[in-house]
């Protein structure tokens, strides 16, 4: 539940909302908690929010691990169950 998943900001919209790419899946998230995030930033996503800006290498490492340790109930999006 406290797991945060790396993603890349691919589109900025109004109201500090943004589209992010989570390994091929596009999600809309809020950037309210990361005022410094901009187009192209790598961020950690938790419960529909970017909670930290991270560097690209860190994002790649985290993803490798997440693939290995997160299992997901059929009806639950990974980020919510994690």
């Amino acid at each position: 539940m406290c797991l945060a998943i790396p993603a890349r900001v691919i589109l900025m919209s109004d109201n500090r909302m943004a589209e992010v790419d989570i390994h091929g899946v596009t999600r809309t998230v809020s950037l309210d908690l990361t005022p410094e995030a901009e187009l192209g930033s790598w961020v950690l996503i938790h419960a529909g929010f970017a909670i930290q800006v991270v560097d690209e290498q860190f994002a790649a490492e985290s993803w490798d691990l997440i693939k290995q340790i997160v299992w997901v109930d059929d009806d639950v999006p990974a980020e919510a169950s994690a």
């Binding site: 539940m1 945060a4 909670i51 299992w71 009806d75 639950v76 999006p77 919510a80 169950s81």
Partner: protein
């Protein structure tokens, strides 16, 4: 051990770290990983099995769903039975049993209980369905709390009168203090939670070292990260040092996320919280401040719940304190499995019982 190591990113470095840990661990050491994601990583990569005899890794209270008290679950269930109320929550919460029922059972019985991916989704539902009262059941630690704070501010900005949050959020440092003071537990060092630390930074843990002389290391989730954290702790313990160190520089800044911390502060104030297995810990809950009382489900709905009951035979509370290992529970794997969980520690994907069951052979008949 060779089998386990070969699956890791850098088996050589891992081997080296394990040797270093064995050298540093010159006495028996009990090290607790606080975070459920660490518990999963430790089980998944077989880290317990590669520890030297002197080092015992224990799982702690870091699964927010697991530590939620039956009283709070019962309250949410009562709310779901009120006409016109929609309960929204993260998926992990659905199957967690309270005294008599669970949200998923209530849903099967026709109550309106919905899983959301983000608390903002619940606000959208409230805006789209003005004849419903949408309640978000807020469970989680400092990682999650700022997202709820922002959500409440959004609902306020939109002028919504049919959205509220039942806040059973908890904060981690005070729970660690309770464990340090528990003579049954006797922890020598903590692996501190990575993503909680991303928000709060290392400062809120300093008292563990300065007041109680118990060291802590915030670390990441790779096997190598965890081993490095254990090694740093073993060194501190054998040298008689107690410091709060960060082995997760990539994910934790020295001051955490100041924007997120300010939002928590603006919307929530500390209150007492009941933790499963531990009891009431002063100041570890987060109540919604009076300025935002309109969005506080605990104030808004007049619901009383009977005295909660514990689940017969379930030792989840002791598991969360590190006193009992999951496979020491009589029901583990025999009656209690992830498919048919009896207690919360088997429900959540990061509960200790579920992690042990999925990834280890302990206690399997």
């Amino acid at each position: 051990m060779a089998d386990i190591l070969s699956a890791w990113r850098d088996p050589e470095l891992a081997r080296h770290l394990i040797e270093q840990i064995a050298q540093a661990a010159d006495r028996p050491m009990k090290i607790m990983e606080v975070c459920g994601t660490h518990t999963v990583a430790i089980a998944r990569f077989g880290l317990r099995d590669v520890m030297p005899d002197n080092v015992t890794l224990l799982s702690g209270p870091g699964c927010p769903v697991c530590v939620t008290a039956n009283r709070d679950i019962d309250f949410a269930i009562e709310l779901s039975r009120l006409p016109g109320v929609v309960i929204t929550t993260f998926g992990d919460m659905m199957k967690v049993p309270g005294s008599h029922s669970s949200l998923s059972r209530e849903k099967a019985d026709g109550r309106d209980v919905r899983i959301v991916y983000s608390p903002l989704d619940a606000v959208q539902m409230a805006a789209a369905e003005p004849d419903k009262q949408v309640v978000f059941l807020g469970v989680g630690f400092e990682t999650t709390v700022p997202t709820i704070a922002v959500t409440i501010k959004h609902a306020m900005a939109q002028g919504l009168t049919n959205f509220s949050v039942l806040s059973v959020h908890k904060t981690v440092p005070g729970a660690l203090e309770a464990l340090v003071n528990d003579p049954e537990v006797a922890i020598d060092g903590f692996i501190l939670p990575g993503h909680v630390s991303t928000i709060i930074g290392p400062e809120p843990y300093r008292f563990l070292a300065s007041t109680y002389h118990v060291p802590g290391v915030a670390t990441g989730f790779e096997p190598i990260d965890v081993l490095q954290g254990v090694w740093m702790l073993a060194r501190q313990i054998s040298e008689g040092r107690a410091e709060i160190e960060i082995a997760y520089q990539r994910g934790v800044n020295a001051d955490g996320n100041p924007t997120a911390r300010a939002l928590i502060e603006e919307v929530f104030e500390p209150t007492d919280a009941e933790w499963r297995g531990i009891g009431v810990i002063p100041g570890t809950g987060l109540a919604i401040r009076p300025e935002f009382a309109d969005f506080d489900a605990a104030k808004r709905f007049d619901v009383t719940v009977p005295e909660p009951k514990e689940i017969p035979g379930c030792q989840c509370g002791d598991v969360l304190r590190g006193v009992v290992l999951p496979f020491q529970c009589r029901l583990f794997g025999k009656g209690c499995t992830p498919e048919h969980p009896i207690g919360p520690c088997m429900v959540s994907s990061e509960g200790s019982c579920a992690a042990y069951y999925r990834y280890t052979d302990y206690g399997r008949a």
